[in-house]
Symmetry: C2
Subunit: 424 residues, 2 copies
Amino acid sequence: MAFPSSNRGQWAGRQQIGYLMQQGVDYPNCLSLAAGLVDYDTFPADLVLQATQKILTDPAQARASLQYGTTPGSLELRRQLLKHLAKLDGVSQESEAGSIDQLLITTGSQQFLDLVSQAVLNPGDICLVTAPSYFVYLSTLEGIGVELVSVDCDDQGIIPASLQETLERLEQAGKLPLVKMLYLVSYFDNPRGITMPLNRRQEVLEILERWSAKQYLYLLEDAAYRELWFEEPPPQSIYSLDQSKERVIYTQTFSKSLSPGLRTGFGLLPKALVKPVTDLKSIHDFGSPHFSQFVVSELLSSGQYEQHVKKLRESYREKSQVMWNAVSDSILTSDLAHAEQPGGGLYVWLKLDDKVCDTRFSQRLFRDAAEKHHVMFVPGELFYSDPSHPDANLTMRLSYGVQTQQKLKEGIERLANAIAEVRK
Amino acid sequence: MAFPSSNRGQWAGRQQIGYLMQQGVDYPNCLSLAAGLVDYDTFPADLVLQATQKILTDPAQARASLQYGTTPGSLELRRQLLKHLAKLDGVSQESEAGSIDQLLITTGSQQFLDLVSQAVLNPGDICLVTAPSYFVYLSTLEGIGVELVSVDCDDQGIIPASLQETLERLEQAGKLPLVKMLYLVSYFDNPRGITMPLNRRQEVLEILERWSAKQYLYLLEDAAYRELWFEEPPPQSIYSLDQSKERVIYTQTFSKSLSPGLRTGFGLLPKALVKPVTDLKSIHDFGSPHFSQFVVSELLSSGQYEQHVKKLRESYREKSQVMWNAVSDSILTSDLAHAEQPGGGLYVWLKLDDKVCDTRFSQRLFRDAAEKHHVMFVPGELFYSDPSHPDANLTMRLSYGVQTQQKLKEGIERLANAIAEVRK
């Protein structure tokens, strides 16, 4: 007899990150510009140590942090997060969020993305995504059996006219009732490092509001990289622009700005989603680790988090500049190579307008780069839900997150050599 | 327009624990014998502090613990867990598990239960459960849209003849192809505190093996309370009896034996389930908090966990005796009241063979106990997937986990008074 297995289990298997991680295993000597990990040298071990000492030597805090929490998470941390978010958005805390009940703490923002998707989308439903888009979330949606429809982007993020056209096209095809959500990374996005300007944020929100008469769409705003800006703070969130507080679902994480090992993220929910998302989280795990929540809470309230993020911005700003200089000097010298200098986040998105330099896993450039030049990038194909998108074969994501400045220079030099050799 | 929402989100809403927790909120002055929380006084704050200091002052460990881990979890902790489990089962590590790849670390054992259920069961499939059974898992199954079919129990756990009859009945109804799994709490179960003896474990396994020719059923063994024995260690796991290692799925947690706030559990998977369950976990959260895993790993390897569990056993043994004495003296004096003294775990399961004493939320006993006598129990109805089960109205679960010895005596006295008053 066959072993029992579910559709969900099979759908979840369509994860391209598995293939990417396997490449890392297959080519262990590669200098990886692929991994989206964060900088080891900036981990706040001393701050986390101070926080744990403070928590565990205070009997009341020690007991509470080691006990079960509630499913939505520590009330104290949730209070601080509302305050923190209002500060980031430059608005008053009262105008920012409906109530603390709408804020849920999760195991990284990934769990929040998964829970929301499960609460909103049935198998066969449609979610709009950008082309390109964060590939792990594309897999998350596929894991629920959701159909992905992509909307084009330019250097300001999603193109409003393309969103409008896509919705019209879906309406004509009779598929509008299946469209439930639009997903956006609104700050220094993954993979392109682009931040949507304020007017673009407003336009997108207005389009969704106009379509509401026919079909209500949620906007899922992923702000994972929001605090990693280099020169100036980015615009306020789409969430803060949503007067109704019934449209935008917002999520952010401490994985990039503090420590992924604490796995603490959070999100804000429209009222209609509070119960189903919290119910699903109860089933998933009854709540994320309470102890980590106390550590994050302590670092936020002491102001040490804010100090840490300042240092982090400086470190990533320098590293991004090192990578950018190297890419400019050795790759962008060709008219066939294009990139935008990132203003924050962890990535440089490179386009090689050159059919010889097909960036896919299966093609010569990726293999030669890994095998001969010992350098690895993430092929652009991973970020497109539609593999026939014209940019899917021409693009790659380069991360300056984990490598040192020296290694970044060396990595880009190796990549430039690999490109030059393929072009010969 | 209606806000979009999924079936999953609605199914997840059928959680009776929400109702139970609401009762706790509605009657805040109650002495709760309901909560399944663990003893605050035995939390190992000093041990966790030592472990975090050791981890965070070692640069290599500090970096690793604060970085992302892999989806299945820390390799070092997984190695130790295999060793730990072989020791509990009294077998060699080689014979115990296929490979370390089959061990997955999760956010408590609840996440493991949820992931396995999602990987094995489609909406409309059937899972066999015991009557009574752990009610949070019943909600988990309902949250996936699964049909529950219950199998009767006696004081040695699930009754083999009843399992056989249930399978025959399902076969006659043409529903056998939908039956995918049997769920059991094999040690000091929730709610009854019963441990299955060895021969019962073998019989159940043999029945499932005989039925394999017609329908392959997994056995999901939940060993959450395994280490909380009082007088002598309980028998080896059903997992260890499964020679094929393709039948039994095993899970255990550190929430009861160490700290729920670390939210660290684990499970062992048959080979066929490793990929789908790990894929689903990647979508859920990419892996449970790495930092907590390092803490648990440090406490296991130093032997401090073992020392701590010894103390914990003694504390719960004493508290269970206090509750048992109080129940014996004030409630079991009636011929219409029955209970078994627990040999481990956190619960006393009380049956009142007396129609006047209907234990349901909606009936007088629960309301009077809460409102007049300020004591709360968990009505037995929560633990039966079939509300028409003859014991569903007659039973209640009493926990000695969280209250002090003094409060336990007081709580049982109040409950005895409430029962006496209803009987008047």
